[in-house]
Amino acid sequence: MNFGNVALAGPAHTRRPDMQAQGEDPVQEIKRLQRCINDLVSLLALPAVWSGNEPSHIVDVLLDALLRMLRLDFIYARLEKTVAAAPTEFMRVGDSCKCGLESQEIQSKLGQWFGGGSRESLPLNRNRLGGVDISIFPLPLGVRGDIGVIILGSERADFPAQTESLLLSVAANQASFALQEARLLNEQKLVSSELDQRVAQRTSELAAANEELRKEIAERRRVEHALRGSEQSLRLILDGIAGLVAIMGTTGEVEAVNRQVLDYFGRSAEEMKGWLTGDAVHPDDLPGVISAWRHSLETVSPYDIDHRMRRVDGAYRWFHARGLPLRDAEGQVLRWYVLLTDIDDRRHAEEALRASEGKLQRVIDAIPTLAWCNLPDGPNEFLNKRWHAYTGLSPEEAHGWGWQTAFHPEDLPPLMKKWQEIMLSGEQGEIEARLRRHDGVYRWFLIRAAPFRDETGAIIRWYGTSTDIEDRKRAEDAVLANERNLGLIISTMPALAWSAYADGNVDFVNQRWLDYTGLSPAQAQGWAWARAFHPDDLGRLNDYWLSTIAAGQPGEIEARLRRFDGQYRWFLFRASPLRNESGAVIKWYGTNTDIDDRKRAEEELRNAHSELARVMRVMTMGQLTASIAHEVNQPLSGIITNASTCLRMLDADPPNLEGARETARRTIRDGHRASDVVTRLRTLYSKKEPTLEPMDLNEVAREVTALSSTEIQKNGVTLRQEFADGLPPALGDRIQLQQVILNLLRNGADAMSTINDRPRELLIWTERHEGNQIQLSVKDSGVGFTHEVAGKIFEAFYTTKGDGMGIGLSVSRSIIEAHQGRLWATPNDGPGCTFSFAIPCTPKGLADSASRGRRVDSSADAA
């Protein structure tokens, strides 16, 4: 501490005179001075306390020290603003203060007196403060009080004394130094902390910037990496795009192309740079491409054009080229991205679609039906050409609901009703109605509509056709009429008609059938009809029907059918199969015709024939007799007449002898005549010369079998005929041979009349015999004959029949022998025997005919 340099605190004019001058006690003075020195020492020790402390602490300590030392009433301090701190005020009020003011009040008063003015002009005077006079002594700190000021207040009027002033000066100096030091320290601290702060800040800033940089670098690296990656992806993408991608520079030159480009053109990227000059673009399209590309580049507008490009194999395909510029942040074009998409197929498809649409339109107009398309709620949208041509309505007249006028007024209401139903149901539907032709004629049409749905299943259109069915309807009507007719015919025709399935099950019988039998339709179906038949005939009928079905051939058989009144009548059952295209039977149709009357008539005829035959036989005998009688009667008659005349002549007067002689002569003559007749007749009867002519023995035999078949069958005998084909004509008398054949057949039938344990079968056949002869044989299954009688059977009058006359075989033999033939009999291997005769054929020449007196029949040549 350098006392020497320290200016006394306070201005000179404020220094109060020392107390000594005022006559103070030397002991007290020594005490006071000692006290003063002590205080000074204390004050001088303060810096040590203050060292390193805050200004506020310095001030606090100082104020406390001064307050104590000087026994002040109050002490106030203010520190001026520093860099590190705002102005600070301190206030201490001593215990001995009697002003009774609070510190705040004092402070504010001081503020009033000293506030804001120059510190050098601080009044030093006594002021009234709270009713008490106070000596106010300001003590500036620092040079010109720039550090602060301390204001002391004391009630003593002599405040501050000299020694007090000294203290104060020292205190002020000390405080100023300390405060200055503190201030500087603070400032230093401040600065250093500021510096530290700055440094720290800077460091942290740097660190942050570093961090930023690191991040940026990392980011950049990442970005680069990503960029590389994205470049790769880009390349992958570019190469993966289903299109040709070219990256063009701002002047339109090729910078890069994707793999597709290379593959498509078969060239390298380098070669592709010359794309506008080579044949990559089709020559026809090239001018347009060049101009469009140039235009896009110049006006920076999107590049959009379709053109053809040459593929590696030489084929040109259509592509859609689209180019867009890539701009930077300022809007400058960086490069162009051009995508070329192969639209060749699509173009062709479009062409094809157009063509097919055109074709479809032609088809729709060509199909031979009227076609139309309606909207989902009903009105018409489209009608094909045929519709318009047919109805004569124009599209304007017909679209919407106008088409209704084309329909027949009677058919329109049901048509509209049906149309509503169809639309509601959403299902396909149809209806028939009459549509008016352009010439006014109404024809029946079949109107059909079908819904057309989209992917969601909603109906978006109704498509329909209207087909002319007038002819079909007429045909249907005709068919119906036909069917009705047919039904009528079937019901009316005078026959019982029926049909059955291929297996024989009856499925239909006509009304007459039902009326006749009195059965119900149910009773006639299937096989139930069988009960209407006579039990005796049913077995035979059934067997025949089954075999007919099996054979699949038409057949007929007679059987008795019971009438509704129980009476049985004979019917002829005929069945005929109906076949399909492959020849299989699909249905049987049959009729049952009442032949009862005919059968009875036949029966009667047969009987009549038999009777006739018998009568003829008898008559022949009778005739023979009559003929004999007649032949004989004539001469006999002559004899009687002449003899009667002779007697009369002799009785006459005179007797007529000449006459008598004449008549007698005649009588003798007639007698001879009669004898001749008998002789002649006998000859005539026994050996009538046959009239031989060429004839077909088969035909001759057939006539006999035809005449006698019914008679033979009546006796339960089955007659079979097996006439050989290709037989040459035989020489014979037709009538006589027929007599022989009839005789043989009758004999055969008679031989079986007692047979019941085996079928009665007659077989008649013809064959060639020993070259130039024809043989006819009749075989029976009858009783046959033993060897004993074998020789006798041809003898005249030999018979085994009870009612026989025994002339049959002998006469037959005579006839055959007259034919230069032979008649013989042989027993069968089985039962019965076989009679045969053989007669010569016609010789090639007819030389013998004349000598035998044959009559040559001109028709025999055809035999």
Binding site: A626, N633, Q634, S637, G638, S644, R648, M649, A652
Partner: protein, 143 residues
Amino acid sequence: MDIPYEMPHCFAMQSREGRGRNQHALLSVVDDDESVRESLPDLIKEFGFAARAFSSAEEFLSSGSVDETSCLILDIAMPGMSGPELQQELKRRGREIPIIFITGQRDETTRARVLKQRVAGFLLKPFNDTDLLAAINTALQGI
């Protein structure tokens, strides 16, 4: 043998005495049998009548004797026009001469048919002279 004959109209038999009444009446015999034509006219002449013979109905019709004939002795069965047919023809002409049919046929049907018409007699050959005379007398007595 017993030869039946029908006696129509229940006229009494005429005996030989009646012969004078119809003297010279002409009897025509029509028969295709030669022996009849040979023998019968003589018998008729013995009866006292005139007699002519014809071999067929046609011959008789074209002979011109039709009007002169008082009685016709007619065979039934002849070739060409038969006896009954000649009867029809004469009826048609309005010349109903009494007819005596003679025949060798013992046919019931023919007899029945013939007798439906008016006949003077029906004789079966051979017939005796007595029956013939009786029939002639019946015929000439008028019908």
